[in-house]
Subunit: 374 residues, 2 copies
Amino acid sequence: MQLTDLRTPCVLVDRVRLERNIDRMQAAADARKVRLRPHAKTHKSPDIARVQTGRGAVGICCAKLGEAEVFARAGLADIRLPYPLHFSNADRLLALQDLAMLSFIVDDLEVARGWSSALHAAGSRVDVLVKVDVGFHRCGIDPDAEGAAALVARVAELPGLRFRGLLSHAGHAYGATSEHETAAMAATERRLLTTLAERVRALGVEVEEISVGSTPTARFSLQQDDITELRPGNYVYYDRTQVALGSATWDDCALTVLARVVSRPAPDRVILDSGSKTLTNDVARGSGETRGFGAVLEDLESTAPDPALVIERLSEEHANVRDSAGTRTLVPGDLVRIVPNHSCVVSNLVDRVYVVDGMRVEDELDVEARGRIT
Amino acid sequence: MQLTDLRTPCVLVDRVRLERNIDRMQAAADARKVRLRPHAKTHKSPDIARVQTGRGAVGICCAKLGEAEVFARAGLADIRLPYPLHFSNADRLLALQDLAMLSFIVDDLEVARGWSSALHAAGSRVDVLVKVDVGFHRCGIDPDAEGAAALVARVAELPGLRFRGLLSHAGHAYGATSEHETAAMAATERRLLTTLAERVRALGVEVEEISVGSTPTARFSLQQDDITELRPGNYVYYDRTQVALGSATWDDCALTVLARVVSRPAPDRVILDSGSKTLTNDVARGSGETRGFGAVLEDLESTAPDPALVIERLSEEHANVRDSAGTRTLVPGDLVRIVPNHSCVVSNLVDRVYVVDGMRVEDELDVEARGRIT
């Protein structure tokens, strides 16, 4: 089967690039003796997770227990949830423990106590890390706060929990406007984590793990000492944002959307069948040319965007593309290939992706953990 | 079962408001003797579509053949696709004809010819309308163009197609900044359609249908003569955008997201478990207060937003809420209810919604046509 035989729109994954991305990140982590634990949210596929662990990843990450349930049932044996799970989900976590080694994070002493009670009462003990805010200002304890080390120490002594270390996510690196800024964010992250770890150790508490994870900072975190674990997710597919952030080249982008021209109502306007139900309204981050809702490639076999085509607007089932050059004569029925702004959210919208090699469709892959939001 | 028993995040549909919204739009259409043909993209549920047809809707609309396949197999007998389908899908349309009466739109003579050949060769004849651009500048022919009426007449004489009339979507009404502007858009829409219809009739072609459809313009279109069909979709649920556009009140909003506080890392910052995988990054349209990714209600039983809480930022599984007043002491584990910016895209993210009456959970409803993008 060829690309041209597929119903559109649909999501394509280039197998060669996918495997190259997996191998390259694994090799970089191995060279530094850092444990790689990819976040599975990007692909949501146990098949791809098994490729990652097969090449050396120590396990995977999931955001929610619903995702962990899918991966644990598919045989993934070591699953970390870098998410501030609430203890009202203790029954679900306990039910999964027979299938996989689980760990999660806390950033609140009351929540940690709730987990401690529930797990201890069930005769269980689960690995836990304390989430540290290193500048993204989402979850996490403030590492500069006076009581930060004491809070970690109190978590570490709770029954039912086995304290493993500190964990952070430099999500603010998606707002970096230069490589220099991204590098500085990774350096600050390391400093905040190691400084807090030393304060915790001074209280007599062992800190075995320093876990960081974000694709834009990964290459800089790998140049630093003291990091024990890396948790990038997006690197399997990359996307337009990662190219704009300098994490990848266009040739690394393994996930694309295949779309069809359905209307050509004006010389400068092309309408595609890929709307926000396929591409999402996520905007591109990073520097340089980031207008529009994805980059339309020059042709089906190219990896280079056509600068004349800008996806200006999405409806749910339509993309309005401005064709400023008019050098391409796209007409209804023609196919185009798009690198989306954000690949993780695109794979969450489809039940399956098509694995391709060049123009050939090799396989279909179920996005088994799609939509597992709880 | 009560709301408080549900895993979060999840999508709630208030049954009383849903039925009231359906009844009110049906009554308004009936009073004007306009045929109501709701767009099913908002709910994607055959069960809700059957409520709509049971109350008097003449049929439904679907955007893509994949949606039509779900609704036709569920027994919906009259399905219109106001989408510029490409004739490479002729096999799928022909296969559905045994199950339902289908119709679709064209806005391109070459595409119409492609459909004509495919349908005529199969011994079939399918209802078709010509899509007219009334200002949204997405699909549709330019009604002011010199050859517009002649193009419609040429479509009308193609074998395999049964020309029914003209169809438009005033999607630009989502950009209106006042009721007056919305009313003017509806008036322009009617004028463009009826003027073109007269020109087509002058060529000896019958124009039986003048079909318009968008929830913001619906109440104004219903005050006009010559409209034969109304195709609103969003009115079943409404959302924050419709309130900002004056199409609905907060008390009409039937779809809400139930979310849980998972972290409270700072006095002014609350983190919820409903990220872009639940709320989407769609922004609110309309005038007034439209900052943020949804309106957090005062409490679980209120329909009024809490002005102190702004959903400033979404990650895939987190919402960053700024609590400017600090008057509510939300802590991890607490539940909140959110009116999303755009209800259609929210229901597309979940496999099921929970039908509620007040705090009581009455039923689960599968979103059967979720993710049918082809």
